[in-house]
Symmetry: none
Subunit: 204 residues, 4 copies
């Protein structure tokens, strides 16, 4: 019950990680494994080694916890996309890089991805709206790359850029359904294949 820790106040028990992060990590894993509704607050706090009171000290609700998981993932993904899109390279290379990167990072964080594409509707309406707005920003950035290539004539204009983006992201979302770490392909190989399919589909 008592804690002997000195200096750093946010360090607990037998673990060096701050409580909020421990909770977030436990929640992420459990939400991904069992889904939001099937995961009880009790399970989360047990996995994090704290009590319910502690969880509600840091997070306003179970819903809040889910939102935090989202916020973290969104931020990371947006940063990576921006880096690729802003690079100094031909648009084909930038699009290919971004398209492949989102596959690799999605596979590297399949838990986050599962939650993303399965649990968004569990958020409260306002939080849902907020996440959708950020998601939209991401989509727009990706679409701008496609449109840039179409304007420059290096990509076919046969398909609206919006649809192209949804086509690719559909396959990204789908990864959590079929990808298995012990399968025949490494994340990078999958990423290269999917990026290749996208670029081939965009050939003029």
């Amino acid at each position: 019950m008592e804690r002997q820790v000195a200096a750093v106040p946010r360090t607990t028990d037998g673990d060096g990680t701050p409580v909020p992060q421990r909770l977030l990590a436990a929640a992420t894993r459990l939400f991904a494994e069992q889904g939001y509704d099937r995961t009880s607050v009790q399970e989360i706090v047990e996995a994090a080694g704290v009590t319910k009171g502690a969880l509600y000290h840091y997070f306003g609700s179970k819903d809040d916890l889910l939102h935090e998981v989202y916020a973290r993932v969104l931020r990371i993904q947006q940063e990576r996309l921006d880096a690729f899109a802003d690079a100094d390279a031909p648009v084909e290379e930038r699009l290919r890089g971004a398209a492949a990167d989102v596959v690799v990072t999605t596979i590297d964080n399949l838990d986050d991805a599962s939650i993303f594409f399965r649990s968004m509707h569990h958020l409260s309406p306002e939080k849902h709206k907020q996440v959708r707005a950020e998601r939209r920003r991401y989509h727009e950035r990706f679409r701008a790359l496609v449109e840039e290539g179409q304007k420059k004539g290096v990509f076919s204009t046969a398909t609206p850029a919006d649809l192209v983006v949804d086509y690719h992201f559909g396959s990204v979302h789908h990864l959590s359904t079929w990808y298995r770490p012990d399968g025949p392909l490494t994340p990078q190989q999958v990423a290269d294949h999917l990026a290749d399919l996208l670029l081939r589909a965009l050939r003029p």
Copy 2:
């Protein structure tokens, strides 16, 4: 537990539809709207205009109900795919036809699709396995088309057929996330675009 009733189970209140179908329809709609976990048995029976006893007379459990929803969709989709694949036409046309058709029928039954790609993990392990097995059959049939084209040299062999199939179905699953009936594109137009993207990606 028992299912099939004798002659004509016209046990309906103000409606001409048999009770089991009414329950199935209500469950499909509610599962799609709110998700499996968020939908209570009470809501289902109220929407169907019957009582809980009636539901448990026809279905062994809530889980059973979800399984029935799946079974119906799976059967329909498999039938349609088989029809396209067995047609007497060049493989490009057959694949294009099947790829476009699954988009149109998915859009026409977005409720079913939502359930499919969101609620599968809510099934009991054995039912889940069963559904995955049938799902696999569907996947195999589609893959066979791709491989046939690859062997004949009309499709590129740059990408493993399995990946191609998952690429396309990712976008199909994704439809329920972004497609809106009041959007700028008709289901057929979306279908043509997505099939076109697939076929373009497969160009040698």
Copy 3:
């Protein structure tokens, strides 16, 4: 667990009273003894010898239960007042009768009264409003008696009738604070005294 009772379906366990009434009685007693907030649903169902599920089968919420208690009391009191007010007698006698009767019945049902004057603000806003409306009807009826006497000149008009009514009912509400069954006065004696004070105050 099993119940061997035959015929009457609403009869349970070792007691002949229907479950909803048992719950209502238990809730009434506990709310009066401990207050609404201090009484847990668990205590109520234990006192009634049923489970929580049963309570929520019959009542939508704890708040609902309180409202039912109110509804019963309000109905009874209104009926009694109407009977006295409609009697064929001089207005002094009718007022005295009603004023004394409400004292006696309040003492006879001190539990109900305690709840009434202590827990009304625990009702949801809409239910609160509803109770206040019915309460108002009661007040009006009583005031009409006072005004009738004032018009006829048998009561003083020095004090507005509204205030007179509140004066008397204040003392009625107050009963649950000080009246003890083992005190020196019988309910009827208290009632006669209080009615007498009212009538004396109204002497022209």
Copy 4:
């Protein structure tokens, strides 16, 4: 646990009021508005602009806080009653003055009154007993006035003095139920009417 601070506990943030008083004021308002049980310690400290630790530094418990509220009100009321009762005037005037004054001060401090007549049972048994004892002193003083008048023959002896006192205080308690500052009567007018009713009822 400890209470009195040394010199001047001007420990205030943007406000010149000492912390304990700020807490007491916040608690008084919130208890009156929402009731004791519905008011959380968190709400109180937020309203007072301090933290929980501060509250528990000055008060041993939430219950303590309620008790302090009571103590303050009791002291004030007793002082006022004593002043009226000890005045040099005929007993009718002294009783009328006291009876009217308690009405005015009750209306002027409706929050305190609400708490008084609603939350007394929330005190711990020992504190409850203590408050009742002080309350009793108040009652006795008031009764003594009535009895003095009865002995002198200026008040009717038809009703036991105890009952008379409870009759009047019932109406005082009741004020918080019906009195509205924006109503047709000023506090003084209400007080005069209620004192008048009392005196009229006591006419021999």
